[in-house]
Symmetry: C2
Subunit: 289 residues, 2 copies
């Protein structure tokens, strides 16, 4: 049981955690903290939080668990604000989509990575953002990756693991660099392709007509291009090496594919499309169950 | 009212047209034609067609309307098979995703583009294929683009327009090259990105792990990579110039984006993501209504 949970950044991710824990009876009190007072008032009205404090230093007072769910670019300022204000036994975790940058920010502010900081990432979300978009079942059957370091307190890791399990999430651990590499491929790269495609179309002269003739597949394909731009800017910057490399490779592959198509190489095209269809159908079979 | 409709290629597209026309009471008899006898037997059992004939030359006998819904690579053979077997007043139309190649195939086989051939393209589909995937409401509120030529008989165009309207589709006309350009951007290019991404992941060594951590956004993003590989090979070949050029431009844009990310150019990234989100949110608003 969590006695006092402080959620810093009460949006889709933070708000959904608060709601899930409350629905599971796993938390007594939820304190919200955010830069926007209007946002906190909405969260209070929606019953997502019990009370709010705008100053992070005060918000973490007497919290036994702190969840930071702000865009990655704001993480360092939050660490700076709460430094020296936490109880010795307070466990901190976060929901950032890149773990290397969170660890580097902690190192920069605290001079070391605190033993009771458990870097984490729930692999869940929708293209919507804000506390109005949060809901208690967001994490049900979703994976949460925790990336503890050698200095991480096992008891802190255990607390965070239990917190996510009470939201019905599946918790796994892996190292920081591996997490950032896997996410670069499965999440960050697809978002870049969707943003890039929609942006390219938006810049075409006849873009009204083009969007008019886009079919249902296009709607699904580009859904993630409606995601929060600031969050994604920060993810790109935080994972710039891995993502930059993936994107460079993908760009080269698209140029190769352009050549294959222009050359009319039917066999090679069929091979690519078959391998992709097989992989996706297999992946869907394995996740539909 | 259509007295006898012959559907050549009884899959998702052909089967759905037959079902929609029947549901609207707009057809008396549907004759199915396909290379696969097993497929025709399924179509008969499902009530999609009234009877079947495997030979296209016989299948079109006494048809007043012929709908060709085969992969683009098979179109020329179908034209060759039905040449000289059609009644003078029979109207032919098709469902091919590229119109330039259909017109070129007709020209090659008939020596000219027949006045009663109305090239068409329903902008509808799912990632599933085959007659089992067909359903009567596939075309409801979907756009159908017809690309008549100067030689096209206005009465034939009118018959095909009425046929699609009785399926509750919205019919528009445009010229062949314009159609192929718009579809290259809104449909063919997104399919290449989805196939390309899934294929790239499938070829990675740790691909099991990667697919395991792919989130919901990835599932939506890659849905179209489960589409029929043969159909897509043919689309690529048929629209190779336009699609090759789009893909080359997109590949270059991804390389630029890779550089922007590596350089850490936050402002530029935010500008791209905002423009994309605005465009998509606007597009969704306009199509949700």
């Amino acid at each position: 049981m969590i006695t006092r949970l402080t959620v810093i950044g009460v949006g889709l991710i933070g708000g959904s955690l608060a709601q899930a824990l409350r629905a599971a009876g796993a938390v007594e009190q939820v304190v919200g903290c955010s830069r926007s007072r209007a946002n906190l008032e909405r969260a209070l009205k929606l019953g997502v939080i019990d009370r709010f404090v705008q100053d992070p230093a005060q918000a973490v007072q007497d919290a036994d668990l702190v969840f930071i769910a702000v865009p990655l670019g704001a993480m360092r300022d939050i660490f700076a604000a709460v430094k020296g204000r936490l109880r010795d036994d307070t466990v901190i975790t976060d929901g950032g989509s890149v773990k290397g940058s969170v660890v580097a920010d902690a190192q920069a502010i605290f001079g070391h990575v605190p033993a009771r900081l458990v870097p984490g990432h729930p692999i869940a979300g929708t293209e919507h953002s804000g506390v109005e978009a949060s809901f208690p079942t967001l994490y049900r059957n979703r994976r949460v990756i925790l990336t503890p370091l050698s200095v991480t307190d096992p008891e802190a890791l255990d607390r965070v693991t239990r917190m996510w399990r009470s939201c019905s999430a599946q918790v796994t651990t892996m190292d920081v660099a591996h997490h950032d590499q896997i996410l670069a491929v499965t999440s960050h790269l697809p978002h870049m392709l969707a943003f890039g495609l929609v942006d390219a179309l938006a810049r075409l002269r006849e873009n009204d007509e083009i969007f008019r003739y886009a079919a249902g597949g296009f709607r699904d394909f580009t859904r993630i291009a409606s995601s929060d731009p600031i969050m994604w800017r920060d993810i790109c910057i935080a994972n710039r090496e891995q993502l930059g490399e993936m994107l460079r490779r993908f760009g080269d592959e698209m140029l190769d594919l352009a050549t294959t198509i222009r050359r009319g190489d039917s066999d090679h095209l069929l091979e690519i499309f078959r391998r992709a269809k097989d992989a996706r159908d297999r992946y869907i079979d394995s996740t539909d169950s």
